[in-house]
Symmetry: C2
Subunit: 182 residues, 2 copies
């Protein structure tokens, strides 16, 4: 649950990051910016802001702002009907991103997780991403990420995006944000 005033604050913060990372958006896109707290009501730790450019049955593109040290929790994209699962490529537009996926774990990771949810992070193969770097996620691969101290802006490319069907390791997560009017 995101209080309306927090939603507005984070939405405006996203606009600042779009500006810093030289992303031009249209006037009509401002209201399409989504602020996600993953149902954890802990925006200081878990938060991404996304603007979806388009989403068809076959392809999708969005830009994701990750504020400083915020985390996008561990998740994967399961098969849906005839779809073997979302195929996703991220390319870093701005900032630094600590990305974790399945593979050889890093025993001294750069990510810093709040203790109370640490147990819900199980993949620790670390990729430190800088602008221009890309990473490819096969369907079904578990992954999560945290922005560096300055935040990060990600160009996200994928097959059809069905956020509501993403699966999360943390059982308390609700992917689609609920804004609480005040």
């Amino acid at each position: 649950m995101i209080p309306k005033r927090e939603y507005i604050k984070y939405k405006n913060w996203a606009l600042e990051y779009f500006n810093k990372s030289h992303l031009v958006i249209r006037e009509d896109e401002i209201d399409k910016i989504e602020v996600a707290d993953f149902g954890l009501s802990d925006l200081e730790n878990f938060c991404i802001m996304t603007l979806t450019f388009f989403n068809t049955e076959r392809i999708s593109a969005k830009v994701i702002v990750v504020p400083p040290r915020r985390i996008c929790p561990e998740h994967w994209h399961p098969p849906v009907g005839n779809d073997p699962g979302k195929e996703e490529i991220i390319r870093l537009r701005w900032g630094t991103l600590y990305l974790y996926a399945e593979g050889e774990p890093n025993l001294s990771p750069k990510a810093i997780l709040p203790d109370y949810r640490k147990k819900y992070f199980t993949v620790w193969h670390e990729i430190v991403m800088k602008p221009g770097d890309q990473y490819y996620f096969k369907p079904g691969i578990k992954h999560w990420f945290q922005a560096g101290d300055e935040g990060a802006v990600i160009d996200d490319y994928s097959t059809c995006s069905r956020d509501a069907l993403d699966q999360f390791t943390d059982p308390d997560i609700v992917r689609i944000p609920v804004i609480k009017e005040e």
Copy 2:
């Protein structure tokens, strides 16, 4: 056929446009920049420079530089095997683009075509694109474009890209560029 020195000149020009439009690319991507003359050997009129970020069986993304007043000739993306044809969305990153697709023709179009190939342009529904603007091409839809006086940089998103199988109205076109060593 593109003489090697012209290829290098246009490749470097692409780098300038990437810079102007704040696209960060990696060192290893510089050599992947393609300069296409569509086999017409007339770079003053027909030319695009592309950098493909990735191309899987399901999705692809690239950035396209269109130098001042250069044209990408009329083409469409036909069905290939089980694929109903490439679905494509362009979003303008920088500059001005005069885009033409199937639909109500514009009788006073902004595009300026060289007379000797004018007959190979048959769709004249005009969309004047500014940064942030997007256009969606259904598979099979004929389209072409010309940059404005300052040039244009396009973010191009699509299903699997098979440039060699694109179909062009102009029978003289050869899509895959040939560089002539000197």
